[in-house]
């Protein structure tokens, strides 16, 4: 980039920094308020057995209501989320330590999150809970069926699990092949059936449709018929393009070329839809920065009270 461009970028960043500084100095923003609620559990004799407080996020405009208070942990979290969002966006200007730091946090936290969720949702209730149900009920999942008995067949998946984790050991890597084979075999088994039924047989059946489509009055619906014929021709020509056992020459070549055209339209549609998706995601992140963090007049601030009519008057909103 030339010097003029650098100067323009510098001005843009300075303006953004001044705006942020102005918001910090003057505006109320970047705070999270919560409403506290006391949960009380009574014992069989009616006495209070246990109680604790739960906190629910409320819109900032309700901060003066009774029981609403500023949440320090969530406010810190909001700022952490906003700063990390900006760190990720900083990659657009170029690779930098802020981006790499944010990336490292998400890698580490996500991997551990998956481990935790796997432990509490599957390993404890479905593995340990089947082998030693009484013990599992005493601490982790007391809601397990009280009549459930130990099922020692589950020692086999436990053994396979240990063998899978053996992969982390410096020697005996082959041991993990057994559970891996189980995994691969099972995947091959259910995918074979699933794909053949839903993506092969059902798709062929759905393509064998009448070319003459009748309308409500019993006559021929010309446009629907053209659509049906085009679809059938499209499927066949695309399949011929995928078929490489025949040389793509003559009629086969021309049909294959038609197939390519159909595929290009498919990819064009895919591109259009992908753009749509990505912009929606960007909108959501910018809404987070503008509304949740910077409080630039959130259209959903009144969501809880349900009295907002800030947008879409044309829709009767």
């Amino acid at each position: 980039m030339n010097n003029r461009a650098n100067a323009i970028w510098a001005i843009i960043f300075v303006v953004a920094a001044i705006f942020l500084g102005w918001r910090i100095a003057t505006g109320n923003f970047g705070r999270v308020y919560v409403k506290s609620q006391q949960v009380t559990v009574n014992a069989d004799d009616g006495s209070v057995a246990a109680s604790w407080e739960t906190h629910t996020k409320v819109p900032p405009r309700d901060h003066q209501e009774e029981g609403v208070s500023l949440s320090i942990p969530r406010t810190i979290g909001l700022w952490a989320g906003a700063i990390l969002t900006l760190c990720i966006f900083s990659f657009l200007y170029g690779d930098n330590p802020f981006y790499k730091t944010a990336e490292s946090i998400v890698v580490g936290a996500s991997a551990a999150y998956l481990m935790v969720i796997g432990f509490w949702t599957q390993i404890i209730p479905n593995l340990i809970g089947n082998i030693v149900p009484d013990w599992t009920r005493t601490w982790a999942t007391p809601g397990l069926d009280p009549e459930a008995k130990a099922d020692y067949v589950y020692l086999l998946p436990l053994m396979l699990s240990i063998m899978l984790l053996w992969r982390l050991a410096p020697v005996g890597g082959w041991i993990s092949r057994w559970p891996l084979a189980f995994f691969i075999g099972a995947t091959a088994g259910f995918r074979l059936i699933g794909f053949m039924e839903a993506d092969f047989v059902a798709q062929i059946r759905a393509t064998i449709i009448p070319i003459w489509v009748k309308d409500a009055a019993g006559g021929v619906d010309i446009w629907a018929s053209i659509g049906a014929l085009t679809m059938i021709v499209g499927v066949i020509s695309c399949l011929i393009y995928f078929f490489f056992s025949l040389e793509h020459k003559g009629v086969v070549g021309k049909t294959a070329r038609l197939g390519i055209w159909f595929l290009m339209v498919t990819f064009g549609a895919g591109f259009g839809y992908t753009v749509m998706g990505r912009i929606a995601l960007l909108s959501q992140r910018l809404e987070f920065l503008f509304y949740e963090w910077l409080w630039l007049d959130s259209p959903t601030a009144d969501a809880v009270s349900g009295t907002a009519s800030l947008i879409m008057p044309a829709l009767g909103g």
Partner: protein
């Protein structure tokens, strides 16, 4: 033992699942196999986490370039793991109030919830949101109407991009819409079909459907042949090189 047993396991499990689909008597065999599969999927998360920790610990201990980022990964990993496994900040299930570990592991207000809400959520969603910028850049740099195929792709993308927003109404809203109560005429349908939002529907429901269906059929055949190769022991690539 090292190579034959895995082949037998893969074939047995695979065929049990296939058979259980067709023979009701064996349905529970398939269910049990799939539950074991699901358990192994959860253990795979542990394996993944363990591997990440192992690799990054090695990088830090050897002071390789970028080791500081590995240290951040390890710290984020260990903190999340600890608060998640210990259910820090969760309240017990109200029914089982005397069992402190019975609560929701990601209940609102817990430490793991905080990590999700304020670290994982903003970071992962922003990473995907960034693709909006890159897709714009790619559109500017790579999309050229060099030939018929590229022109078709571009033309379709234009119609879909405009047809899926209010731009369709702005640009082609003047074309007549079909009246609900009247019998649609040939030309009535034609003019209506040229409205951008209708053209988009036609592209998606006819041309895209045909292309996607052919792709689906192709993939299904590919999956079927790969699966059969695995079950019959012809494809053994998952066993590795056999050097260990």
């Amino acid at each position: 033992m090292k190579r034959t047993a895995p082949l037998l396991i893969a074939a047995t499990v695979g065929f049990i699942i296939i058979v259980s689909t067709f023979i009701p008597y064996t349905e529970s065999w398939g269910e049990d196999s799939m539950i074991w599969f699901d358990i192994l999927a959860a253990v795979a998360f542990v394996l993944g986490g363990g591997n990440l920790l192992k690799m990054n610990l090695k990088k830090v201990s050897e002071r390789r370039p970028g080791w500081a980022y590995s240290a951040i990964i390890i710290a984020a990993f260990l903190i999340t793991l600890t608060v998640g496994l210990l259910k820090v900040g969760t309240h017990p299930n109200e029914v089982f109030w005397n069992k402190p570990w019975s609560g929701d592991y990601i209940g609102e207000g817990s430490a793991l919830w905080w990590i999700y809400e304020y670290l994982i959520y903003p970071l992962t969603s922003t990473m995907f949101a960034m693709l909006a910028f890159y897709i714009a850049s790619a559109a500017f740099r790579a999309f050229r109407a060099k030939n018929m195929e590229a022109s078709l792709l571009l033309g379709t993308a234009f119609i879909v991009l405009l047809g899926r927003t209010y731009a369709a109404i702005i640009l082609t809203g003047w074309l007549p819409e079909l009246a609900h109560d009247a019998e649609p005429s040939f030309f009535g349908q034609l003019w209506n079909g040229l409205r951008l939002e209708k053209l988009t529907e036609t592209i998606m429901g006819v041309f895209n459907l045909a292309g996607s269906r052919a792709i689906n059929i192709g993939i299904a055949l590919g999956i079927a042949s790969t699966s059969l190769k695995v079950l019959l022991g012809i494809d053994r690539s998952y066993l590795g090189t056999g050097e260990d």
